[in-house]
């Protein structure tokens, strides 16, 4: 039943198509979107179990065998991240539906939000599953085009300006991506990843380095790697909370996944990758220090997002099975926890009417539920035991300490960046949750997308956030089997052979 691997892409596209058809009934759109994402979660879970038990699930579209045809490949890494991403997308959708009912009323129809949301999910799924470079490019375009719409619809001049930065930077990186794909094709006459993993080895070292760096830059821009991160803290905080949470949870991690996939398959290293170690150090420190300087809650979270991309880059830089295992686990945990924090940020803003930390106060007394919902993901992000963040970070540190002097030194930076994260989040806690309660700030623009400064928050918004908190707690509870599986995923990535055999068959090796 290999068709299963195509369902995470086709289901949301079908859902989006039907949602456009029934665009006059917002109730039908909501039900469609929820059922689509719900069934995607089930499919992703089945894919993960199958990929772990009996190797990657591969489907050759149209029956054309790779490397000629297009293949969708769900191996352990792809299926795990797909499952976590769809879970997050489902929870964020629940939050968004509830918020839209509260703000616009039960009957307010929007013909664009749900279809666009589903198309974005389709793009994310395709990015995880695609087995060739060009399909990867297409999936990024699907994802980004949908994200342009979500970021800039029904907003003010200021958000359009922030959106412009995002659109231009994304288009630029897409252009570079396409150029890189064309260069790879010119050099090797194939774009199939499994096929490339053999042919790139035969290229001259200089050309290989150029191609590898092209992909580092392309995915570095999209994953907000320092020094290519500048667009993220300017654009993400301006969107409505559910959209920001979705972007923060999924988009950068998809790019990180693409970076891992291309670098491990195409440009393997025998020893730790020095350039990536430096980039990881810069990303961790710039992000964490930037977060300390912020007064805007969403900007602070955006900088923390950048900082923790560095943790994952560190796992990739170590370039052994344990490092990649840690990076995979870290990515899975990071997707949930960042989305949760941005949703909580949305709840806080909704209650206090502001994103400025110095105008909040006393939330722990006025809204204990909010305090709990913030505290758990905050501790998880900082990586305190016994949370999921600790488990993932421990794996990264062990991998770094066992891989020589350079990685060990960077492991120390990981610990420093974790403390800086904890410090930044403590600052949020002290400013927003402790102290005396401050009056609610009036909504500066009552007619725009964001409704703030209202105590009218329906319970499903809390429930959706709590669901995400539960997912990150579940990652901590099942840390044993999960890290065993990411360990196997890391070994697959380093060995490269399982992927090749699964896609191309083992006829000639």
């Amino acid at each position: 039943m290999t068709a299963l691997a195509a369902l995470p892409v086709l289901l949301p596209i079908l859902g989006a198509a039907l949602a456009v058809v029934v665009s006059t009934s917002v109730l039908a759109q909501r039900i469609l979107a929820l059922t689509t994402l719900g069934s995607m979660v089930v499919v992703a879970a089945v894919l993960l179990v199958r990929a772990d038990r009996s190797g990657p699930v591969v489907i050759a579209l149209g029956g054309w065998a790779p490397p000629v045809g297009i293949a969708l490949v769900a191996d352990r890494l792809a299926a795990l991240l797909l499952l976590v991403s769809t879970l997050v997308a489902l929870a964020v959708l629940g939050y968004a539906i509830s918020q839209r009912i509260a703000d616009y009323g039960r009957r307010m129809a929007s013909s664009t939000f749900y279809p666009t949301y589903l198309v974005l999910s389709a793009g994310v799924s395709l990015a995880y599953l695609s087995g060739d470079l060009f399909t990867l490019f297409v999936s990024f375009e699907i994802m980004l085009t949908a994200s342009y719409v979500l970021l800039t619809r029904r907003t003010s001049v200021q958000t359009i300006r922030a959106g412009m930065t995002y659109v231009i930077v994304s288009l630029l990186s897409s252009l570079l991506f396409l150029t890189a794909v064309a260069m790879v094709y010119a050099a090797t006459a194939t774009v199939n990843l499994a096929d490339l993993s053999e042919r790139v080895d035969a290229l001259p070292p200089g050309l290989r380095t150029v191609l590898a760096l092209m992909f580092v830059v392309v995915f570095g821009i999209k994953a907000a790697m320092v020094p290519l991160h500048f667009w993220l803290p300017d654009s993400y905080p301006n969107a409505p909370a559910p959209v920001t949470a979705l972007f923060a949870g999924l988009l950068t991690k998809v790019s990180f996944y693409a970076m891992v996939r291309t670098q491990t398959l195409l440009f393997p290293h025998d020893r730790p990758w020095t350039l990536m170690l430096w980039l990881a150090v810069a990303t961790m420190l710039v992000g964490a220090l930037g977060a300390l300087a912020q007064n805007d809650l969403n900007r602070l979270l955006s900088f923390l997002l950048v900082s923790h991309i560095g943790f994952m880059l560190f796992g990739l830089a170590v370039f052994d099975a344990r490092g990649l295992s840690g990076a995979t686990l870290y990515a899975a945990h990071h997707i949930t926890v960042l989305a949760t924090l941005f949703l909580v940020g949305g709840l806080i803003t909704r209650r206090t009417g502001t994103v400025a930390l110095d105008r909040m106060g006393g939330l722990a007394a006025t809204s204990p539920a909010l305090a709990v919902l913030f505290a758990i993901p905050a501790l998880t992000l900082a990586g305190l035991p016994p949370t999921a963040g600790f488990v993932a970070k421990l794996q990264l540190l062990q991998a770094g300490a066992g891989a020589g002097v350079g990685p060990t030194a960077v492991a120390a930076v990981v610990i420093a960046a974790s403390f800086l994260t904890l410090f930044a989040l403590t600052k949020v806690w002290v400013r927003a949750f402790w102290g005396r309660a401050r009056p609610t700030v009036e909504d500066p623009d009552p007619h725009d997308e964001l409704e703030v400064g209202t105590a009218r928050t329906p319970w499903p918004m809390y429930a959706a956030t709590a669901g995400l908190v539960a997912v990150s707690l579940a990652i901590a509870v099942f840390a044993g089997p999960l890290s065993a599986m990411t360990g196997r995923a890391g070994e697959d990535l380093i060995a490269r052979v399982p992927y090749r055999v699964a896609v191309l068959g083992d006829a000639d090796r």
């Binding site: 195509a6 198509a17 039907l18 149209g62 013909s111």
Partner: protein
């Protein structure tokens, strides 16, 4: 009152605001029956009769040609995308000739529904082979017997093309609705002459 459907010397010939007096000469070559089906026509001075005349003849021809491209696409140049664009261009031509006539009103279906249906048909075509145990997106040839004249060979991927065709036509119509008549409406609302 529609100036095109009324008699040439009826009260529809009353000058539009900002229009000079209508001379008999201008009313002679005004068509007696609607060539297009405009809901609201531009003022007579802003019309291009030649274009309207040509469009009247071209519109059905272009649509038939787009169907030809759709069917020929599997073996020759064409396919759902280009056929859809050609059909969409027929509507663009009609919009250019008809002015603020809303092309959306000419198609008895809302453009988003057309897009959604097209996309759903395409995805359905992709998933249909799974029922028969074939890989996703695979296609096969169906032989449809025609009475008296042998059989017609249909490649199933034509259904994907039909989906793409509807999608593209829907997109073009939606663009016309948003960027054409939508902007004209906004300009009228702002007091400018569209």
């Amino acid at each position: 009152m529609n100036p095109l459907t009324s008699s040439p010397d009826g009260d529809a010939a009353a000058p539009q605001p900002g229009e000079r007096e209508q001379t008999p000469f201008e009313s002679w070559d005004r068509p007696r029956s609607p060539w297009l089906l405009p809901g609201r026509c531009r003022t007579p001075r802003r019309r291009t009769l030649l274009l309207e005349m040509v469009t009247r003849g071209l519109f059905p021809t272009i649509l038939v040609f787009s169907i030809y491209l759709l069917c020929a696409g599997h073996y020759g140049p064409g396919g759902g995308f280009s056929a859809g664009l050609v059909a969409g261009l027929a509507f663009v031509l009609r919009y250019l000739a008809g002015g603020s006539t809303d092309p959306g009103a000419l198609v008895p279906i809302r453009p988003p529904v057309l897009m959604g249906l097209g996309l759903a048909i395409a995805v359905g075509t992709a998933l249909a082979p799974v029922v028969a145990g074939e890989p996703v997106l695979s296609s096969t040839k169906l032989a449809v017997p025609l009475p008296g004249s042998g059989e017609l060979e249909v490649v199933t991927s034509v259904f994907l093309d039909v989906g793409v065709y509807l999608l593209i036509v829907g997109v073009v119509l939606d663009l016309l609705r948003a960027l054409g008549s939508g902007i004209e409406r906004d300009m009228r609302a702002a007091g400018e002459e569209a």
